[in-house]
């Protein structure tokens, strides 16, 4: 992987680690941006890791663009040798798949979809060669996902499925974006899933909804009091399919301030993961449930 650098005007340096998505490219971007943060370079104002790229915003009155570029190139090539192990968290996210709210929305915008006769779940199951909605939900929720980028809007995680490339779920975005998406919709576009942190426009296929808030600008939700966004790049997510009564109970718990998400510290080794993906994922799930 040879990182491609470009200036984004006079205040940004944009770095594309690879043009295609992979965990290797994501880890490289994460390591470089951590190194940039640790280097405390004068004039650097924002350090943004993304899926297979990263971006640094700077004040050219404080550091010459060419000097910063040289420094980034050095940090970028030095990180090649970093051992791909990170200390991170695994977070369980309950999901009511095939819920009434995203269903109402996807029907409302049906003429913008590739398949106006079905639902997003039916469509995604078919194009991924899976035998129906239940098989699709199993495929979506059985392996964990990496938070490979946070952004678009406040606190929205992009999630990358931790399975071999040939097993990864892929789906195109809507033909024309919707003007509405329910808050906390679990969506999917390209090879990425996401959770819509706020209600608004969107183009990803809609599969379900989580009762668990992930962004709270008022910081009233117990686990969002320290910071208003739940996710950081590098977090690992495990979906937990739930039914309607469990969804309603979780919403009531959130409203009453009783909801306690399952979040565990874990270390992740890319090498060990690649050696035996299914075994490693079972180990991760064991950490989540304390066995």
């Amino acid at each position: 992987m040879q990182t491609r650098f470009s200036y984004g005007g006079d205040e940004h340096i944009f770095a594309e680690v690879a043009d295609s998505m992979s965990l290797e490219a994501f880890f490289k971007g994460l390591f470089v941006t951590n190194a940039v943060r640790d280097a405390r370079i004068k004039g650097v104002t924002e350090i943004c890791p993304a899926n297979a790229s990263y971006q640094v915003k700077f004040d050219p009155d404080q550091i010459k663009p060419d000097d910063l570029l040289a420094e980034l190139k050095q940090l970028d090539s030095a990180s090649e040798t970093s051992a791909p192990v990170i200390k991170t968290r695994i977070i369980e996210i309950p999901v009511l798949y095939n819920d009434p709210w995203t269903h109402e929305t996807l029907m409302r915008f049906r003429e913008r979809h590739q398949d106006p006769t079905g639902t997003d779940l039916e469509y995604a199951a078919r194009i991924n060669g899976l035998d129906g909605v239940d098989a699709f939900i199993k495929a979506h929720s059985s392996a964990p996902w990496f938070v490979s980028m946070v952004g678009f809007v406040a606190g929205l995680p992009f999630l990358y499925q931790m399975v071999e490339r040939q097993r990864q779920i892929q789906a195109p975005k809507y033909l024309r974006p919707r003007t509405d998406t329910p808050k906390l919709t679990v969506g999917h576009g390209g090879c990425f899933s996401c959770i819509y942190s706020v209600r608004g426009a969107g183009g990803y296929q809609m599969f379900g909804i989580t009762p668990m808030p992930i962004y709270d600008p008022n910081q009233k939700i117990s686990y969002l009091r320290d910071f208003m966004c739940l996710f950081k790049p590098g977090d690992i997510v495990k979906w937990k399919p739930i039914d309607r009564p469990a969804y309603d109970a979780a919403v009531a718990d959130v409203d009453a301030g009783r909801f306690a998400p399952i979040i565990r510290d874990v270390s992740f080794s890319l090498t060990e993961f690649n050696n035996d993906i299914d075994a490693y994922n079972r180990k991760l799930e064991g950490v989540l449930h304390g066995h």
């Binding site: 984004g8 005007g9 790229s53 406040a154 706020v198 966004c229």
Partner: protein, 325 residues
Amino acid sequence: MAIKVLKPGLATTVQDLGRPGYYHIGIPLSGGMDRHALAAANLLVGNEEGAAVLEAVFMGPELEFTDDTLVAITGAELPPKLDGEPRETWTSFKVKRGQKLSFDFLKQGARGYIAIAGGIDVPLVLGSRSTYALGALGGFKGRKLEAGDELPIGKTSAAVKDGRTVAKNLRGLPAAMPMELRVMPGLYWHRITEAAGIGFFGDTWKVAPEADRIGYRFKGGKPLEFVPREPPFGAGSDPSNITDACYPYGSIQVPGGTEPIVLHRDAVSGGGYFMVGTVIAADMDLIGQLQPNTPVKFVKVAMDEALAARKSRTELLGKLRSALA
């Protein structure tokens, strides 16, 4: 001291100089789209230049004051009226308790900045009072103003006299038509053909109706032709798709190769559309004053020209500070 919102205008929001440091989790800078005009309004009423003001777009609000104070309106030519009597823009004027400030129809530009001595005293959120409406964050209850809102005003730090004005040459407003926006090509420029690149800089574009704090859309130029490729894994099948990446402020994405969108202060922080380059920082304020249908040319510049333009913009602010010191 407070101001009562009698009519909110179209999309009036509380803004200061923004909220840096959270772009990596999708929270954009926000803040005044025309930062120079925002600073000028504050300096006119004796505020710190980054105090919170109201940004009114296309149409002014109607406000009532609960105390005597000093007010200044800068940016767009949005003519103020005090109890129906005309007042000047770019000039501070006194307001008495109970008086009503309203506005005539917009004559020029797009965004007016209404500064009140003491600044708008909404709570600081992540270090700023700016409104990020998409995330319901900051400003007044995280949203644009509504009739019936009551905005707290801070204590004035230093009393300054009324009637001070900003000379025309210090206002930093766009002059020539068509407007020229200077662009450094880059990012995913290599995705389009040489002919498309020439067309992009050669064509005259027009501001589309979809122009807001997130981004300004342009139309009327020739669609861009792409260099053929095998779609990389994760990018999506459309030739304008990329593996979702960060978007610089001022970056120009062209979904489907048809209508360029320049991201502004409330930018979405990333996504899956390729970008042809970035509007230089010195020209970002000007975008905030563009009305729909304004003809615009994108002008190709290199880093040294961008830095020279930045320097002259900083010098203009320096002159403004000296003039109002």
